[in-house]
């Protein structure tokens, strides 16, 4: 399996990363090395192994439907890059 430069550019676009041509070339090489390494798993016979959904042997961890206090508005927006009247101010999309 080999990742093309175009695929790296596409993934970078989806992740909102602006990469230079040099960086695209570098990440293509690095990502391919990682994928090659992971590919060693394919040497194993996993036909009798169920797909793993989670690494912990746990299931059905629930909480009761009980309301608890939220955080105060001032604290919530304290880390906002831009804030206005208790709202997060964000770039307009549509």
């Amino acid at each position: 399996m080999s990742l093309t430069k175009a695929e790296v550019e596409h993934v970078a676009m989806l992740a909102r990363l602006a990469l230079t041509d040099d960086e695209v070339a570098m990440y293509t090489t690095q990502l391919n090395a990682i994928l090659d390494y992971a590919q060693r798993l394919e040497a194993l016979d996993t036909s009798a192994v169920a797909p793993t959904a989670h690494v912990f042997p746990l299931h059905n961890v629930f909480r009761d439907d009980v309301v608890r206090p939220s955080m105060e508005q001032a604290k919530i927006v304290a880390n906002a890059p831009e804030e206005e009247d208790g709202f997060f101010r964000v770039p307009r999309i549509v």
Binding site: N60, D65, V67, R68, S70, E72, Q73, R92
Partner: protein, 505 residues
Amino acid sequence: MQEFEFEIVMGLEIHSELATKSKIFCGCTTEFGGEQNTHVCPVCLGLPGVLPVLNRQVVEYAMTAGLALNCTIAEFSKFDRKNYFYPDLPKAYQTSQYDLPIAEKGWVDITTSQGTKRIGITRVHMEEDAGKLVHGGGTLAGAGYSLADYNRTAVPLIEIVSEPDIRSVEEAIAYMEHVKAILEYTGVSDCKMEQGSLRCDANISLRPWGQKEFGVRSELKNMNSFKTLQKALEYEIERQAEILRDGGVVVQETRMWDDAKGVTISLRSKEEAHDYRYFPEPDLVPIIISREWVDRVRAALPELPEARHERLVAAYGLPSYDAGIITDSKAMADYFDAACRHYGIEPSPIADDDGYRQADQQGKDRAKQISNYMMGELTRLVKEDGKGFEDCPISPENLVGLLQLLEAGTISSKIAKTVFETMYATGKEAKVIVEEKGLVQISDEGAIAKIVAEIVDKNPNVVADYKAGKEKAVGFFVGQIMKATKGKANPGVVNQLLKAELDRR
């Protein structure tokens, strides 16, 4: 739809907010509204280091909806991350279910003018809602920005995905109405469309009649009222038909209905829209549902719309159409049942061959009276006020009080109409209004006979008309007598005495 040159193929994705008190993975309230960003905490905001924990009630509600939609509940189910950037999504991914949803392979039967049809349900899965964007600042295009309120973020949702079985706008609306009724009956969601608790997306494509392969589809987003759904679907079908008529190709894309302009507009290119890079949610462990758990939820299912519809027809003899209208809304059906109870309409203790306990003829007549008032005057007044039957100012008990006065002949049907309006406006009992306003029907023959004689005396020329065979003369006299008694004279007695009086002349 046969005359349309293309076959319409649609599937609906219905999103419904669940009626839990707290959010899906944290204890923030799900209450609608509230000052911006006051129902928010580090978990629903997705701050680093937090650990979401699934609300058990979300699983129960999703199972309930799944079972009511005739789905199979998965023994093993898990959450996944759906990754995309949008400012209403603070975590930059939506926690949803991808390949192992909680429920699959169900169906509902819908009724349209074409009859009954089964629509397949592909799946029901659990996920979280997104926040809300308010447009603020500069109104000039490009100069504006948005304001994000995350109160709604992580309110639990179920998404109900139908098979592409829908073939007309009428079917789409009937399907949506039916699913809404099921969600209301099971109490899984309040279905308040005006608050965004229930909304839907539609996949729409057209193909020439007889073609097996689907045409290219567009995905229409976020329709949150029946009116919007109808207008948006009609517009989009015509838009695609025009492209195909001109020999063009429909582009696969996501579109949004713009209500102000009355058009659908393109949102994102397909390339970006569907590249969600799902992967298993590492912060949430899988859900394993035992047979016993499924049985317990199934046993707790209430009577569903279809069963209730059949019961109203069988037990009370309502026409299927009336029963359909009443059972389409849970509030209306509950109102009807409560009114029947207050009226003492007793279903027979012995079930008929189909297992229904029928009311006797008197009970059926009374039930029909209730249904007539509900479907006529009451629906009109409630709709005018933009209310539902759950906030109707006339309680089922008070409606029955009015019908009992009518049945006993204490008031005439004409007076009943006035009393009804006053009841709606004041919430008072019919009996109280009748006493306060002195509206008791006059059935005393002596009193009525006196008024009849006076009026007949005063109008010798109309008597002459009557003698000349003009039937209209009777109507004139009845009108005058009713006017003189302020509508309180018993019409039966009036007719009888008037006839006798005129024949004596």
